[in-house]
Structures are given as C-alpha cells and as structure tokens.
C-alpha cells in the first residue's frame, strides 16, 4: 500500500505506486511540484519512507 499526504492536509491511499503517480498527475499535472506532499509505503504494517523513490517524470 502507498499513500500521499497532499498539501499537508489529506491522505490519499493507493494499492500501488503506479496508481499514486497517476493520481498526482491527474490532480496537479506538470506542476505537481507546487504542492507540498509526503509519500509513504506500508512495509510490515508500518507507514514508512518508501523502499524505492517515486518519479513523476
């Protein structure tokens, strides 16, 4: 599971990293970088820094 804390206000949770990337692109397009956010991955039941980075390229 993946989640993103978007604009430091709301969490959005996804089954996969790819789904998260799609959501960000759909939500903010090329200007995703103007939004503050933090991405986490659920590993062993704990939300933590993802095992792999996420690129919106």
């Amino acid at each position: 599971m993946w989640r993103i804390h978007w604009d430091n206000t709301t969490y959005h949770t996804f089954d996969t990293q790819a789904e998260l990337i799609t959501w960000v692109k759909d939500t903010a397009g090329e200007q995703w970088y103007t939004h503050g956010f933090k991405i986490e991955e659920q590993i062993d039941g704990e939300w933590t820094t993802p095992s792999v980075p996420t690129s919106f390229k």
């Binding site: 430091n8 090329e30 200007q31 993802p50």
Partner: protein, 320 residues
C-alpha cells in the same frame, strides 16, 4: 562586468539606457504562449563537480519581466535544478497568480516535496497575485531564496531586500541523513536557466549524458520573455535574513539596488557561490567554484539567445 540575459536573434535588446549595469539575456519571443515557438535558453551540466549533499540551497537572481506577458495558469520556471531521474532538486518559478504560490520554489527528494512561496502580509507586494503583478512591472528586481529541507525555519524569500516570506511553506522537515530523506543535491545533473523548450524533453538520457534532459513536457513553463541574470547559486544555507548579508547582493542606494558580483560573484563581498552565472558580451559564463561544462544553448525553431546590454541590464535603471 556581468550581464543579464533575454530575447531571440543575436541582437542587443533595445535599451532605455540610464546607466551602466550588468548584462543579462533572454531567449526567444516575448510571448509566453505555451507553444515551443522560437525560443532559446541555457543549461549548465554538472559534469565535473557535484553540489554537496547539504540540506539547503540558496539562490539569488536578477529578473525583469512584464506580468502581462505571463501565460495563464502556469508557473514559468526561472531556474531548474534537477537530476535526470527527477528524484532530486527542484525549480523556482514565477506564475500569474491563478495558481497558488505565484513566486516560489521547491525541493523534491523522491518521497517528499517541500514548497515555499511569496505572500507575506504587509509586504510591498502582498499576496501571490499582487506579488507577481508587482514584480512584473518591467523593472529589474532582485530575488533571494533559501530553502532548507531539514529546517523549516530556514525558508525565506526576499525581493529587493524586503522579506516576502509567506506563512505558506509546505512540507514537513525531514532528517538530514545521507542515506535517508535528504534533498539529494549531489544528484543534481543540470541547472536549467529558465525552462528549456518543451521539445527538449528526452526521457532516454541518463546521468552519464551530461548535456541531455532539459526536462519539461510543458511548453507553458518556458519563460522566454524574462530578462535574467546574473545568478548566484549556493549548495548551502546563506542567511539572507541578515541585512548585512543581503547588502552583498542588493543595496537600495544603488541603481535598481544592483550590487555587481564581478566575474566570480564576490565583488560585493559575497562568498563565491558554487555557480555564478553571468553574461559577458557574447555568452553565459560560470564564475562559481564548481567546475561545470560551459553553459550551452538549448533552442527550438529559430530561437536564439539575445543579450541585454549592460546599459539596459540590472544596475542600469533600464525598463521594458
């Protein structure tokens, strides 16, 4: 004496000369119409040296633009400091205020994105929209930004020596470890001066291809109409909250407030930055401490760099 940069065709921009300042450049048309158009700008590849993997960056740049020339609903990139994989660094931009954060900057490290923007209540330019309008008055302005990923108290924007830091910084602080969440400044592959033309996007290039990857798929993020330069870029926190530090870059007693950095950025008393990008009579040069490839032009169509003469650059009092 450095120059700034701006327009297409290799001609000197028409100048309303009231004095002698630095040179600058612009690239391409004066219209930011969201098409690749005939535009050009520079990119600096970090081939030989890399930024240190510190938690913060600071940049100071001189810019002149007209708000009426900004395209709607877009952030025009002033500087892009990125890696090819898009997992480190960020960009600083100016928008027309229809989006939040009209003048701002970010750092993204692969999992966390921090953003800061202008909009301090009571400052000269007020909120986002009025800030973009106010700075876009066709005169030269000095923008100073420092952005620290590990310390939210070290995120500031000054324009013409005045604090415009908004309470709008976004993103939590993250540890400054070398293996965990950090800005990964040492991964930055290139510095784009304004956004490269949209057609320059090339996803196939990697870090070994030092010239490639202007990286923006959005032509509207180009900023051909901006006259720009010189630029100081540090891979450390420079305490721009100190008036004595700001005075090394901006002095209200000078024309436009311009303080000449010379050929290495230090003539006004500043420390030599990692990159100091200034224009001479023919091209952009790096007088910073890091060894880079020579700044090179990326262009689309018939776009070409146009030099803003020192009689019209920052410190000249010239306007558009």
């Amino acid at each position: 004496m450095p120059l700034g940069f701006a327009k297409s065709t290799f001609t000197y921009a028409a100048a309303a000369a009231t004095g002698s300042g630095a040179r600058a450049f612009f690239g391409g048309t004066r219209a930011n119409d969201g098409t690749p158009g005939n535009v050009a700008t520079y990119r600096v590849a970090m081939k030989n040296d890399r930024f240190a993997n510190n938690t913060g960056i600071t940049f100071i740049y001189w810019i002149r633009y007209k708000f009426s020339e900004l395209s709607s609903n877009n952030q025009h990139r002033v500087l892009t400091y990125r890696d090819f994989a898009d997992l480190g660094g960020g960009q600083t931009w100016i928008g027309n205020g229809t989006n939040p954060f009209a003048i701002g900057a970010n750092i993204y490290n692969g999992s966390e994105n921090i953003v800061m923007s202008i909009g301090k209540a009571g400052s000269t330019y007020g909120n986002n929209l009025t800030a973009a309008q106010g700075v876009g008055d066709g005169s030269w302005h000095c923008v100073m930004m420092r952005l620290d990923m590990a310390d939210a108290s070290k995120r500031h924007i000054y324009i013409d020596g005045e604090d415009h830091t908004a309470g709008q910084t976004a993103g939590a602080s993250v540890p400054s470890t070398t293996s965990g969440n950090n800005p990964k400044l040492n991964n930055i592959d290139f510095i784009g001066i304004k956004a490269a033309p949209g057609n320059d996007k090339d996803d196939t290039r990697g870090s070994g291809d030092v010239d490639g990857g202007g990286y923006t798929g959005n032509n509207s993020q180009q900023f051909p109409s901006a006259d720009l330069g010189p630029v100081w870029f540090y891979d450390t926190d420079v305490d721009i909250t100190s008036s004595s530090v700001r005075a090394k870059y901006y002095n209200a007693s000078n024309t436009d407030g311009y303080v000449d950095g010379g050929t290495d950025g230090t003539d006004g008393g500043a420390s030599q930055p990692e990159l100091y990008l200034y224009h001479n009579a023919s091209t952009l040069l790096n007088g910073g401490s890091l060894s880079t490839r020579a700044p090179f032009v990326v262009a689309n169509g018939s776009g070409a760099i146009s030099i803003v003469a020192d009689t019209d650059g920052p410190g000249s009092g010239g306007t558009r």
